[in-house]
């Protein structure tokens, strides 16, 4: 079983974001970076598949980004990946989802992967498109927003989250791209011994330019913080009156109560 996990390093969401001078991305200076949360579920699931097969699987952890992206790859290796692939790109935000997916597909095309796990989306760009595009480019099936994954031989039984709180179950054959959602699993912590072992694992480095990809299909024109809306609504009156007012508002605005 050959598994590819595609991950991204993103800013810590606790950071304070400022739009950069070009007005097309955020200022990266002074930000702390970490592994994209959804990609942690992807790595964890890959490692669980490997464990379920008694170790008979080989996991490649791939990331596109500047030098610091190696930190995310190493975390993936410390969680149980076997080999890292770093496709170096100093300004990955200048590529659109199509170009990122094309890079991944160009690397993966002749490698005979059976399963590709990735996060549902990145916490910074959040396009949610890369997984699906990789599947299309490789001719793989794709299941998105996955919250349950079981493998029986070459068939996967997958639970996915759908609109309106519904769940769907699908069953399909490999090869397959899976995009992982919160709730799929609880990612393990990299232990100190595994962090040490990760240092010895193979790390292949490529330049983004090694893989010819076409022009971007989407250009970011402008990035800006949303305008500040008015303050919240303050209700006044005695307790009964307040409860009635609140209930009326909830009935009108909250779909769950309809």
């Amino acid at each position: 079983m050959k598994i590819l996990v595609c991950i991204k390093q993103v800013p810590d969401m606790e950071s304070r974001f400022r739009v950069n001078s070009a007005g097309t991305w955020y200022e990266e200076q002074d930000l702390a970076f970490r592994l994209n949360e959804y990609d942690e579920y992807a790595i964890e699931q890959a490692v669980r598949v490997k464990e379920g097969l008694g170790g008979a699987a080989d996991i490649t952890v791939l990331s596109i980004g500047p030098d610091r992206a190696v930190e995310a790859i190493k975390k993936g290796l410390a969680m149980g990946g076997d080999r890292g692939v770093h496709i170096k790109a100093d300004q990955p935000h200048q590529m659109d989802a199509w170009q990122i997916a094309s890079l991944i597909a160009a690397f993966a095309r002749d490698k005979n992967f059976d399963l590709i796990f990735t996060g549902l989306q990145s916490q910074d760009r959040g396009s949610g498109q890369v997984g699906g595009m990789v599947a299309e480019l490789l001719g793989f099936a794709c299941v998105t927003t996955v919250v349950g994954f079981e493998l029986n031989g070459a068939v996967a039984a997958i639970r996915r989250e759908m609109e309106g709180g519904l769940r769907g179950v699908v069953r399909l054959a490999l090869p397959l791209v899976v995009t992982c959602q919160l709730g799929l699993n609880t990612p393990r912590y990299p232990t100190l011994p595994n962090i040490m072992k990760a240092k010895q694992k193979e790390l292949l480095t490529f330049q983004a330019a090694d893989f010819p990809v076409g022009d971007s299909l989407v250009q970011t024109e402008k990035m800006y913080p949303p305008e500040k809306k008015g303050r919240g609504l303050v209700l006044e009156g005695d307790v009964n009156e307040l409860a009635d007012k609140l209930a009326a508002i909830l009935k009108e605005k909250a779909p769950a109560l309809r």
């Binding site: 610091r68 100190l192 011994p193």
Partner: protein
């Protein structure tokens, strides 16, 4: 010269941070109030490899470096100083002397259970009349055939209550002063080892601070650490290394308190604006940050020196002195910034304020650190 952590150290730091945030931080108030670290948390930290960070893989450790160890103690102490010193006392005061002075047989026997947390380590050095002056020990040993028989009392044994593996110091003849001292590795569940009490304390309440009586404790020759008469040297070298652990703990306490104070200064509105817009608060935050950053440089430098087998006695005393005084300063100011809420348990800085004080005392008081620094400068 490079002041940035390596990528490997950053991976370690963020992994430990994630663990601490989810597993340690939520328990910190409970640990203080109940005077105990839950066994479950000790097991989880053991499973993370926190108790064998820089022990070689051959002895069950993770095989990382001393800087990694300092980062672990720092990160854990940001949330819980008791858990931080559990790791530090275990690693620096028990595992390290066995690693440095033990025979191959002793390392193979004692280090793997320590590295995985099956045994928690401690040092039995201090006595009622011998703290900063360990040459004045009264616990004595006599030889009986090839065995050693030990009698005496030990106090202030951090981690003592776990009854794991202890490094015990005793003298053959008190009149020989430091030349009479030998070190032993003791299984604290042995016959002849009696726990007298666990002290109730101002801070680091989750840790055991244990008093022992040793009554005709009989140890075979295989328990002697180093050679006879080498005990004083082992104690001094062990304490030099231990200061790195304590300073990392102090650094973590200071950082934990600073983060809370900085966040609180944004939230707390008085006179119509957040208090961080008051210069009185800004100056406090600037002073706190300055001391934290210089402490960090000093701690990481000492860890790097020890890890690279360079002389580090002065630097470990310096970082211990600076980081511990930083911890008491920063926690005091953090409490002050919180005003009345700082005095309330829920806001946690009152605990940090209490926890910080011990870092100026154990493993060499600030006064002793100044003596060590002066001696190194003037000799």
């Amino acid at each position: 010269m490079d002041f940035e952590l390596s990528q490997d150290h950053k991976v370690l730091q963020s992994s430990v941070r994630d663990f601490v945030e989810k597993e340690v931080k939520p328990l910190a108030i409970q640990i203080d109030e109940q005077h105990a670290i839950p066994d479950e948390l000790v097991r989880k930290m053991s499973a993370m490899g926190f108790l064998g960070s820089y022990l070689p893989e051959a002895y069950g450790g993770a095989g990382l470096d001393i800087l990694s160890y300092a980062i672990v103690v720092e990160e854990v102490s940001k949330a819980c100083a008791s858990s931080g010193i559990l790791i530090s006392a275990h690693t620096s005061l028990a595992c390290d002397p066995i690693l440095q002075f033990g025979t191959e047989e002793q390392k193979r026997k004692y280090l793997p259970p320590l590295a995985c947390g099956e045994k928690i380590g401690c040092i039995l050095l201090t006595e009622s009349d011998a703290g900063s002056d360990p040459a004045n020990l009264s616990t004595t040993y006599v030889k009986d055939g090839s065995d050693f028989v030990i009698n005496g009392n030990k106090i202030f044994v951090t981690n003592g209550g776990y009854r794991g593996t202890g490094i015990l110091f005793a003298t053959f003849d008190k009149s020989l002063k430091h030349k009479g001292i030998s070190a032993f590795i003791v299984d604290l569940q042995s016959e002849g080892v009696e726990i007298l009490r666990h002290e109730s304390k101002l801070g680091i309440r989750g840790t055991y601070t244990t008093a022992f009586a040793l009554n005709n404790l009989r140890l075979p020759a295989s328990c002697l650490l180093g050679s006879e008469g080498q005990g004083f040297k082992i104690a001094m070298e062990t304490l030099n290394g231990g200061r790195i652990g304590v300073s990392a703990q102090a650094l973590g306490i200071a950082e934990g308190a600073f983060e809370r104070a900085r966040n609180y200064s944004k939230e707390r509105v008085q006179f119509g604006r957040p208090i961080r817009e008051q210069q009185a608060i800004q100056f406090k935050l600037a002073d706190m940050y300055m001391r934290i950053e210089t402490s960090r440089l000093a701690v990481y430098q000492a860890a790097w020196l020890k890890g690279n087998k360079k002389p580090y006695i002065l630097e470990s005393a310096l970082c211990k002195l600076h980081a511990s005084e930083t911890a008491t300063f920063v926690t005091k100011e953090a409490l002050q910034i919180h005003g009345g809420y700082g005095y309330v348990t829920e806001y946690e800085v009152e605990r940090m304020y209490r926890d910080a004080k011990i870092t100026e005392i154990y493993e060499g008081t600030s006064e002793v650190q100044r003596l060590i620094i002066a001696k190194a400068l003037l000799s």
